[in-house]
Symmetry: C2
Subunit: 465 residues, 2 copies
């Protein structure tokens, strides 16, 4: 049904998107239609990420889609980075506009303008904002979820009194929001570290990386958190009166994660039968399937679904017996629902149902009486197994190397770890010729170094999406 991953991974990805009804190409180049099943994955991601952002003290707000073109030009690196990707509105309300309007590629500039207005005193700091929004970057090569002209994301923007406060907050978001969400909800292990100068966000003084491996051995950037230094504070005049009464310049950060995570989820966990959704993310954790509409089967399945719901499980009943059981089972497999409970007359006669795990395809009989009490633990077991499996895959595809040539070879099938003092910016440039990039620089223990040049720093290199 699907092109096997081993035959053609990009085609497998396209097949999953189409057959699991996740997304379609929009009519305007590079845009995307997110279908209900795909959007359901995103909605659950939003809920989990949003809760963590609120726990970190940031509040949601909304800033305009349209930004005056002049705003973009105020921070030199920022405009250079985004200029080639801008969509520009030149006409509105039937007239040509006096100043062209840019459709936001990101909101540092417009938010900087309002931070300057709202921040007067040290009492107004830190100012911790987040917004859920669409942004537009006119990309040359697009791929659904991974790189689209318009995408959905959250972008956090904060202002702080000191450089230390700003750096600490960016790190807090990176670890407590992004890493925690990815590992504990998406069941995706991520490498955490700093980006090199080459790979930094346009306008940042430091970008924190969060990189996952896909099942074809390529890396995907799952989220980034930026220390913006005083670059935007200077460009937009974000100043405050300090405790001592003097005028001070603020320090800002920004951090984002997007619908790209849906693509990452698919390519990290998917297999030749389709998606595999980790239970903590799944909007349907268990589907109770009526095998055949024999006497008592629908009633038994309905009762089981109700019991599971009462046990706190996100459950769905599938009693569409006008469609063949095989076809429905394949469809739920394709959609990656973590557990199928198959209810049929033969099992029921023995007081049993069949429980099928999507992650391992294991089947086992369970008594009707015990089902609801065992499923919650089973879901947690699946969650843990999926993270363990993805971590084992990553470890098996991560090689420690000593030379740039070895790094190039290793990056054909996965990640290479090489001493940053060995690689350096020269080695980085050499690898770039083969489309291999430094995904992040980290300490030997996997933590984030304070600077690029700490002794012992490791560069992780890979091909990437």
């Amino acid at each position: 049904m699907l092109t096997p991953q081993g035959t053609d991974f990009p085609r497998w990805y396209q097949d999953v998107l189409a057959k699991a009804e996740l997304a379609d190409n929009g009519p305007v180049r590079g845009t995307m239609v997110i279908r209900p099943y795909g959007y359901g994955l995103w909605e659950r991601m939003v809920a989990e990420v949003d809760a963590r952002i609120k726990d970190a003290g940031a509040e949601n707000a909304y800033f305009p889609l349209f930004i005056p073109e002049s705003y973009l030009t105020r921070e030199a690196e920022h405009v250079e980075g985004f200029s080639p990707e801008l969509a520009v509105v030149t006409h509105a309300g039937g007239k040509e506009l006096e100043e062209p309007i840019v459709v936001r590629p990101t909101s540092e500039t417009v938010i900087g303008e309002f931070m300057a207005k709202w921040i007067q005193s040290h009492r107004d700091l830190p100012l911790l904002l987040n917004q859920w929004a669409n942004v537009v970057r006119w990309e040359l090569r697009t791929r659904l979820f991974l790189r689209t002209s318009e995408f959905l994301w959250q972008e956090g923007h904060t202002a702080h009194a000191t450089e230390v406060d700003a750096a600490a907050y960016a790190r807090q978001i990176h670890l407590n929001v992004y890493q925690d969400f990815m590992e504990n909800v998406l069941a995706m292990p991520v490498f955490i570290g700093r980006k090199t100068k080459q790979e930094r966000f346009a306008g940042a003084v430091n970008t924190l990386a969060c990189e996952a491996i896909m099942r074809d051995g390529k890396a995907l950037q799952m989220a980034t958190s930026h220390e913006l230094g005083q670059n935007f504070a200077k460009a937009f005049d974000i100043t405050y009166q300090g405790v001592d009464g003097t005028q001070q310049m603020a320090w800002t950060t920004s951090w984002g994660s997007s619908t790209r995570m849906v693509g990452g989820l698919i390519m990290c966990h998917g297999d030749d039968n389709g998606l595999r959704v980790p239970p903590r993310l799944a909007s349907t954790q268990v589907v109770v399937m009526v095998i055949r509409d024999d006497e008592g089967v629908v009633d038994a399945a309905t009762a089981l679904a109700a019991e599971l719901k009462a046990a706190g499980v996100r459950v769905r009943l599938d009693a569409r017996t006008d469609t063949s059981f095989g076809r429905r089972a394949t469809d739920w497999e394709l959609k990656g629902v973590p557990v199928r409970v198959e209810v049929g007359p033969r099992d029921l006669a023995n007081g049993e149902v069949t429980v099928v795990r999507r992650d391992t395809s294991e089947k086992q009989q369970t008594t009707v009486a015990r089902l609801a009490s065992t499923v919650p633990a089973l879901l947690e077991d699946i969650q843990a197994s999926m993270l363990a499996e993805a971590t084992a895959f990553r470890d098996a595809h991560t090689v420690e190397v000593a030379t740039v040539d070895e790094a190039r070879d290793a990056a054909q099938t996965g990640f290479a770890k090489i001493a940053w003092s060995t690689l350096g910016t020269d080695g980085e440039a050499m690898l770039a010729r083969d489309a291999i990039t430094v995904r992040c620089i980290q300490r030997p223990d996997g933590t984030i170094p304070e600077t690029e040049d700490e002794p012992g720093n490791i560069a992780i290199v890979a091909r990437s999406y």
Copy 2:
């Protein structure tokens, strides 16, 4: 602090927006920055409306911001209605585009295109979609929340096998989602009915109205639900194979509610001291305020907040004693938090705290021990009182009249009800000269008539936002 409503209502509205930190004007003409407190109101509206939409069986999806200009022109009335308000992207990625792109003013056209693709058989119907998105309509006169160039909304789009099914679904959404939400969460009574031909959505064969009265006697359209007949089905070729094997044309609906509801909430319930937020909507239902940081007061207030939280109340602790109590109390009043619990040393010595209702300003002493058990009922009482007060205000400002002249007079201070057979399209045109419009046509018992011309139909006319 605020301009009194009686002195200058529009200025009162602007003052509330600024001083309660709800919203600011964006840098591009007509756009809006929604500040955290204002966005918090919208987030709660989204949660409540979204739950009702899901209960009605519709699923969320996401369609692109950008629509090819040619799509808009396929439905004649639709393009005529929206052409003057379009924002157009002519350049992207540094180049002029071959076909200009429209920033969606609404998504009937692009969703119609995909419905045509996804719907093949009668088994695919009904197709019930909703999306939460931003849309752009280049308006001449804008006012924050009420009419902005960009606004946030939900737009539902559905396709059905028959005209009867489509009409029934539009009505279901209108009553079970919109009316229920507005009356039971926003505590805003609404008049329900049909729009006249003049007031219909561009491309609809019937538009259902949901109209509220503001405290200056003007009407605000809070949501609309449209039967689109086969207009969009024909334009986009949304056909299906019927049960009998023949090719059939689908019937579609659309329905929306937006950030305008935030403006409605402010102008329906607000008073000279600021916002009044109904408890079911409020993200903070109760604020527990430390009056003075004397011995034991902060501890007592913290414990009370924890007890309230455990009782299911959305509570916030205000222990910012470096700001004066009076200033903080005024600020919570301005923000419309339904209940303030004031905790001070004198009351505490008697085992009491002071409970202040925002809606009536009533104060009463309650024992510390009884507080948590009495607050949930108090919140429900406030919710009911606010709906009763708003309903009484509306009834006092709604006059039954017999002539067009009387209708014109009555509309200076509120709503006029006049027999539709008396008013008719001629009367409608006469009132339009004085900026008075027919808000809806309803039956004498307040229900929605099947046709405009049912005998006994009443027209409700008013000035409006």
